[in-house]
């Protein structure tokens, strides 16, 4: 992979997350029943930020869980791929909750589909929202995000890399080109 450009810097990421946090509270009409579930790996860091931001604005900490969608992927029978199964931990009851699923990038929609299936096996939320930092288009399933940090039109030969302070030492969104694409 070849680096192409930096799409967002740390200020822009911070501003996007702040806006999402406001929109979530507004859409949910407060923090009642609100909870966040981050999808591995960077969705977890982003969900944590959103929890902190909501607490800062509303004075109340929303519960948070983490979700691994590996066992729900629809490409497990493909040759050569063996993803590591990671932890799923939802330390609260999902029944009747308004869940904000958090992921870094919305692309084909397959991760979101898997996450929805997983969540529904874990309980019966009253509502599920999808929040992503970047929507890069090219959906393969009828899925859309409720909260989007930034819409970035990309080509399929490109890769959008989200970096977070927690996972990568900085907040940024970068565009990379697939080699030989």
């Amino acid at each position: 992979m070849k680096f192409k450009s930096r799409l967002l810097g740390d200020d822009e990421v911070r501003r996007a997350l702040t806006r999402i946090a406001h929109e979530v509270v507004e859409k949910n009409k407060g923090t009642e029943g609100l909870c966040f579930v981050g999808i591995h790996t960077r969705g977890i860091s982003l969900a944590k930020r959103l929890v902190d931001l909501v607490e800062k604005f509303e004075g109340k900490q929303a519960p948070m869980g983490i979700l691994d969608i590996t066992l729900y992927r629809d490409d497990l029978s493909e040759i050569g791929l063996q993803p590591r199964v990671r932890e799923t931990r939802i330390p609260f009851d999902l029944n009747g909750k308004a869940v904000v699923l958090v992921d870094d990038v919305l692309y084909t929609g397959r991760t979101a589909r898997a996450a929805l299936d997983a969540l529904i096996d874990l309980g019966r939320p009253s509502r599920i929202y999808l929040a992503v930092l970047v929507d890069r288009g090219h959906r393969e399933l009828p899925i859309r995000a409720d909260f989007v940090g930034k819409n970035l039109p990309t080509s399929k030969s490109e890769v959008v890399k989200v970096k977070t302070l927690e996972d990568d030492g900085e907040d940024a969104v970068e565009l990379w080109e697939l080699e030989g694409a």
């Binding site: 591995h40 691994d68 590996t70 066992l71 729900y72 992927r73 490409d75 497990l76 029978s77 493909e78 040759i79 050569g80 791929l81 063996q82 993803p83 590591r84 199964v85 990671r86 932890e87 799923t88 931990r89 397959r110 991760t111 299936d117 997983a118 096996d121 874990l122 309980g123």
Partner: protein, 311 residues
């Protein structure tokens, strides 16, 4: 969906000779994740949708077969259950014929149990599909060893430097062989103990002793093996009372081990033979935990042998 991939695995679990520590750790780690699935209201994930797992039992073992089948179903695999007595196999149809018939049914993985060492090995050579050894003769029972290691780690943490005593009929025990192989790979020090006539001349990885006290002294965990009554008929043991007098794990003898040392038994247990009756139900006993963990381990093994390897 970019995601870190696990190291590549052998396409079989016949024993641990083709496995390294990293691969085993991956299985144990995945089993931990499977525990979480088993704690959910819906204890089922779609990971193995479209895969078909055959359990082929040439030797009857309802417990092991059910554990594998439930594990496969919880992963959404289809299960084909084939049980036959080897006696009927020897009459005409060979193992190879039987397995070839199954092969025509589009099986993706085989779980094989048989009373003779090596059949799983042969089967893997014929089938070129994942084969999981669910116990072959006296040789190996790798998923049992994995669940034992998993259960021990839940209680003890790392097994590095831990002393694990295995007590009973070591000579005829696939559980002892697989545990000696696996636990030593995970850093434990294995002491195998039993009557002189039921000890092999050597057991790779393990120290052998006929002294129960020597085995149990300062042990971090104790594993008792099932005693087959037919050993008495073969003249390898004078009598059951003789065995009990020397090798039964009692409350008193367990005190030689470290305080609260966990007690394991692969089942099915002869109450008041291998263990003093009340011990099996004491807080030190992890027997029930072993059964529960068996499912998570088998789910993890199926995941690692099947996912990403379909041809």
């Amino acid at each position: 969906m970019s995601q870190s991939a696990v190291p590549s695995f052998p396409r079989h679990l016949l024993d641990f000779s083709d496995w390294n520590r990293g691969q085993v750790e991956s299985i144990l780690e995945t089993a931990q994740m499977m525990q979480e699935v088993l704690a959910r209201p819906v204890k089922k994930v779609p990971a193995l949708t479209g895969f078909t797992v055959a359990t082929v039992f040439f030797e009857p073992s309802t417990r092991t077969r059910l554990s594998f089948e439930l594990a496969a179903r919880r992963m959404s695999a289809d299960v084909l259950s084939f049980a036959t007595a080897t006696s009927s196999t020897t009459k005409g149809e060979t193992y190879r014929d039987t397995l070839r018939t199954l092969e025509q049914m589009g099986i993706d993985a085989y779980v094989i149990r048989v009373d003779a060492a090596g059949v799983c090995h042969q089967a893997y050579g014929w089938l070129h599909k994942p084969v999981i050894n669910a116990g072959d003769g006296w040789r190996a029972h790798p998923t049992q060893a994995l669940l034992d290691a998993f259960t021990l780690r839940e209680r003890l943490g790392s097994l590095e430097g831990k002393k694990i005593a295995i007590v009973g009929d070591i000579l005829h025990s696939r559980v002892a062989r697989s545990n000696a192989e696996l636990l030593t790979m995970l850093g434990a020090q294995v002491v195998a103990c039993g009557p002189a006539t039921l000890l092999p001349g050597s057991l790779p990885g393990a120290t052998l002793t006929t002294s129960l006290k020597e085995a149990l002294l300062e042990a971090d965990a104790v594993m008792a093996l099932r005693l087959q009554k037919e050993r008495m008929d073969k003249g390898l043991l004078p009598s059951l009372p003789e065995y009990i007098a020397a090798y039964q794990i009692t409350q008193e003898r367990l005190a030689w081990a470290r305080p609260l040392a966990p007690l394991l038994h692969p089942g099915p247990m002869n109450r008041d033979v291998e263990l003093e009756g009340t011990l099996a139900d004491s807080p030190q006993s992890l027997v029930e935990r072993q059964v529960a963990n068996g499912q998570a381990i088998r789910m993890a093994v199926l995941y690692h042998l099947l996912v990403g390897k379909r041809s």
